[in-house]
Symmetry: C2
Subunit: 123 residues, 2 copies
């Protein structure tokens, strides 16, 4: 489980992103139980308070829910997860194209750059 955290951004927000990704990619399976706050915190080499903050904020989106003392669980709603996944993908793409545009690369140009990159990689 990779938790590479950078120092140029609040840790809790990076945790939110990465947990969301683990859920959307299936690393954290629907309906399964999450490790405890303390375990997750240790895994990520982070203070339990920080992990708690990230998890409680994540719950607002509905991808997680808490059973008071038995722990936290991933939603069983596979459709919700699928939607979240596609929203994340769309956001990534939009943000990416936006940045490329600001550098002076139009959408089709950006597309062709990636295409040729992948062609090169195949060789």
């Amino acid at each position: 489980m990779s938790w590479d955290l950078k120092t140029d951004r609040p840790i809790y927000s990076q945790l939110i992103e990465q947990i969301e990704i683990k859920i959307c990619s299936g690393i954290f399976a629907p309906g399964s139980k999450l490790p405890s706050v303390r375990e997750l915190a240790q895994e990520a080499a982070v203070n339990p308070n920080t992990m708690q903050k990230a998890l409680s904020m994540l719950e607002e989106d509905g991808l997680l829910y808490t059973n008071r003392t038995s722990g936290r669980f991933i939603t069983e709603d596979a459709k919700m997860i699928e939607q979240a996944k596609h929203k994340l993908a769309q956001d990534q793409i939009s943000e990416f194209l936006e940045k490329m545009k600001s550098l002076g690369f139009g959408k089709t140009e950006t597309l062709s750059i990636i295409s040729t990159m992948l062609e090169e990689a195949k060789k």
Copy 2:
């Protein structure tokens, strides 16, 4: 001149990114004089200290240089700017493909998603 700054990340680092982009995209032309620290700070609605921090850090890369009291200037070295531009683009692409991969989208899959997005946009 758009300076949209978000609160989820240090301002000075966002300033660095955006100034770098303005240089690479030609908004700040090679050899031209930058507005003063105080002007830029006012434009970006930021404290002069913060702008100063960003600018002095940017100089380390060589895209800017200072003439003690006449101001700051963009490098005349167009080749250096071109290199910086392509490095930024490469970094953006790598980061993007990485994130898409973590979501479960392979490179070719990501490419086809963007392709169809652009096709849709044309209609």
